[in-house]
Symmetry: C2
């Protein structure tokens, strides 16, 4: 079974180096899964938005995200307070999802202000790569690297540390 991995993100990558880095991992991941990057338009916010403006924007973004969630898919919502895992544990988890018969995995990366609680609640796992805050754009590259690493670990492939 070829697994489908959908990365649902808000916004386009603005930096060339991140586009190039992501492209490299997207290319490599072609050997292991059907990968789709689904870029949604973030709701525009002013420079110093109020809490309620942020909350409203996240709710609107949540509606856009929900339309893209595949039925029956396993959903990872990326958020800093989520559970952390080692690369080996993450690899095992990807493998277990696949063995359980779920053929689609959705990863959701929110916008600068994160994700609406409703999306976090709908996810199978709230997942954190680090206690540190990275730009959500860099997080996309880090996530692609980890998904690639997960498949390489799962297939005993050689890959750098």
């Amino acid at each position: 079974m070829i697994i489908t991995v959908n990365i649902i993100t808000l916004g386009k990558l603005k930096e060339n180096y991140l586009r190039d880095g992501c492209s490299e991992y997207i290319k490599r991941l072609g050997a292991f899964c059907k990968l789709n990057i689904i870029e949604l338009a973030p709701v525009p916010l002013p420079d110093k938005p109020s809490q309620s403006a942020i909350s409203t924007a996240l709710k609107k973004e949540a509606m856009l995200i929900e339309k893209k969630l595949t039925k029956g898919a396993y959903i990872f919502a990326l958020c800093i307070e989520g559970r952390m895992a080692t690369s080996e544990q993450f690899s095992k988890q990807i493998n277990d999802i696949s063995l359980s018969g779920r053929s689609t995995i959705n990863f959701i990366i929110g916008s600068s202000y994160g994700l609406d609680p409703s999306i976090k609640c709908k996810s199978d796992m709230q997942f954190s790569m680090s206690q540190m805050t990275f730009t959500h754009q860099m997080a996309r590259m880090m996530l692609l690297e980890q998904i690639y690493r997960a498949f390489m670990i799962g297939t005993n492939g050689k890959y750098h540390k």
Copy 2:
């Protein structure tokens, strides 16, 4: 007092996108500190090295690293089992080091097989950005991003998440 930040690393960056990403953050960091990237030559190892070959290589690399450690500097040794911090805690720590009168901070990123225990013992803090394993080359970009973020948080600057 202008703080000096030395990033001591093993090996050159092989990927253009990582070179470009690091350059971007090095440029930005010029506003906050004197930044030096010190690239040392990693000890070559075969494809599947024995544990003793790895250990010998790490010891040799440790000798190269030690020569570059500035006297009186605060030393962060990056290792996966190190202490984690939020970006805000990391920012406060950088600020506290500066306030304590230490004008130089050394960050050490090991090679694929990490760092010799002697280097970890010499450090003021064993520091981990993630439980996940990233390539040590990507870790360099992630670290530069976090140092930049630390200074931006410390100066109440606007910077993306």
